[in-house]
Every structure is written in structure tokens, then in C-alpha cells.
Symmetry: C2
Subunit: 138 residues, 2 copies
DNA sequence: ACTTGACTTAGACATTGTCTAATGTAGGAT
DNA sequence: ATCCTACATTAGACAATGTCTAAGTCAAGT
């Protein structure tokens, strides 16, 4: 994730300890934390960081296109740092575990003009739901 | 939607004025109300209905498979009475308008075994995003 | 018409997210 | 190296959405 910090600096982002910590927390694959989880982990590294800053920083990262907001779960938003490789999500209906997946085929192409109602369609979000091996075993 | 009331009675649902009103409010195509919107409209027909009852009733309808919860918007859950014809959603990124759509192709078939991580995948939810004709004109 | 268990209610509480005014600080200017 | 200042951070109030509880009410079978 050091590329991220690098890129952001290049875009004129002022670098602060708080922002560094948030970016660190978001590092990795198959990472889909809620804002609150990001905050907890950030507090572990920098105890005085505030909730508002975490929300602000996440919002900025989303605006900059560096992090995606995903709504896999119907409670809190989750933040996915894997914004530069398009992908979709596979969610366990029981425990909520989330994996990134890469389906073949392009769902955008599957929406005929007659089903577009005059919209300019630019994006598609796919969420697969099922039961993960762990929960199936239990 | 009278079939719905019929079906529910058949399943041993106790019929009350409150439940009837919630079912009536949810009638129609391209209906995707938040719990709060359902509540407002229900109050118009039955002023003393409480928020808790609306939430309870919506939850029951979802459990019974008569209504779907959709997370198109990242704020409140929305409730879609069109549960018996599989479909996906097309959302305007600006005004939030939602249409039901029926893509060709089956996205479930597009997820190869190698991308299933041992999950038993049972369902898929697709959300297309774009700009509706109204917002494009503005 | 009774009775009873399921339904509804008001409102407290919980969770998630947003906003503000005061304070602190990164990084360019001197 | 120090100073400035615009931008960032903070605590906490507030807002929106959702959940729970205890007490009262009522649908529907008898």
C-alpha cells in the first residue's frame, strides 16, 4: 500500500499520521472492513485518532477512486482497497465472510438496450451469496 | 397484491389492519420503498400504526420470501414486492431512481468453480448504475 | 361470547453516519 | 530554522435508521 501513499502525495494530499494509519489498516487482499472496524484498528496504532477523521479519510479515498464502497451486507458500508482491479464479491449468508471474485463474462453486455430505459449505464456491481465451507461444515 | 394477502392467510398469518395496510402500500411494479417511506404511507391510511409494526411486518414478509430486501442505495434498506419474478436493478447515481431490469444471460453461470472458494453459491444480486434520462437532461 | 396467544404500541436504546466550532499542524514562504 | 496559513483533526452534538421491551389489544378458534 506504499504505492497508495505515494500516489496520494502526488495528487497533493497533505500527509498526516492519521491518514497514513488509515491507509495502512486498509492494506491487503480480501479486506472489506466497516468504518467502525477501520476506526478500531486505527486506534490500536494511533490512540488519539477520532471517528470523524476516519470517516473523512475513507470518504476522501472513495472520492479519489482509491477505495471502493461496497454494500454486500445490509448494515454498514464496507471499504475495499482493491479498487484498481475490477472484481465482484462472494458473501457467506451465515457468517458474512467476503471474498473477491472475478467472474468470466461481462454483465454490462448482458443488459440489452430495451432494458436500459434510456439510462446511460456505466457500472455494475455483482454480489454472489452462498454458504462458505466453514459454515457448511458446522 | 390480493393474492399476497390470500397466500399469507393460507400460511397461517393472522390478518390485521396493520398488515393489510403494509401489504397495500407495497403493491405495484418498480416499487422500492425504504422502511420509513412504507411507514409514512401506512400512516396515511391508518394513523395509529407504529414504526415497530412496520419494521416487524416487513421483516416477516422478507422471511416468508414475499418481499425482497435490496441494498441499491447505501443508506436505508429498500423493500421490493416483486419477489416472484427474478430480476435485477438499475439505479440512477444522481437521483436514486430505481427500475427493475431483466438481463439476458445468467451471472451465476459466469462464476467458475475456481472462483467459488468452496462456497455453495445460491444466489446473485446485480445492480447496474448509471444516469437516468431526467438527470441527463438537467 | 370467551379465551388465549399472537400482534401492536410507545418509547427507550443501539448502531451508523454527519456536522460544527475550536484547536492543531504540514509544508511552503521567508 | 522559523513562521504562516490553509487544511486537517478533534470531541461531541446531532441525525437517520433499526432493534428491543413491557404492557395493552385483538383475531380467530372454541
Amino acid at each position: 500500500m506504499s504505492d497508495l501513499l505515494e500516489r496520494l502525495r502526488g495528487r497533493g494530499w497533505r500527509m498526516t499520521a492519521q491518514r497514513r494509519v488509515v491507509a495502512e489498516v486498509l492494506d491487503g487482499d480480501h479486506v472489506h472492513l466497516t468504518a467502525d472496524e477501520v476506526h478500531s484498528r486505527a486506534v490500536a496504532k494511533l490512540p488519539e485518532i477520532s471517528r470523524a477523521t476516519v470517516y473523512n479519510t475513507l470518504g476522501e479515498l472513495v472520492s479519489l477512486g482509491e477505495v471502493l464502497e461496497v454494500a454486500t451486507d445490509k448494515r454498514a458500508k464496507r471499504y475495499d482497497p482493491n479498487a484498481h482491479r475490477p472484481h465482484h464479491h462472494l458473501v457467506c449468508a451465515q457468517c458474512g465472510a467476503i471474498r473477491d471474485v472475478h467472474p468470466s463474462g461481462n454483465p454490462l453486455a448482458d443488459l440489452p438496450d430495451s432494458e436500459r430505459f434510456g439510462f446511460t449505464v456505466s457500472d455494475v456491481e455483482v454480489t454472489y451469496r452462498g454458504v462458505c465451507p466453514n459454515c457448511a461444515a458446522a
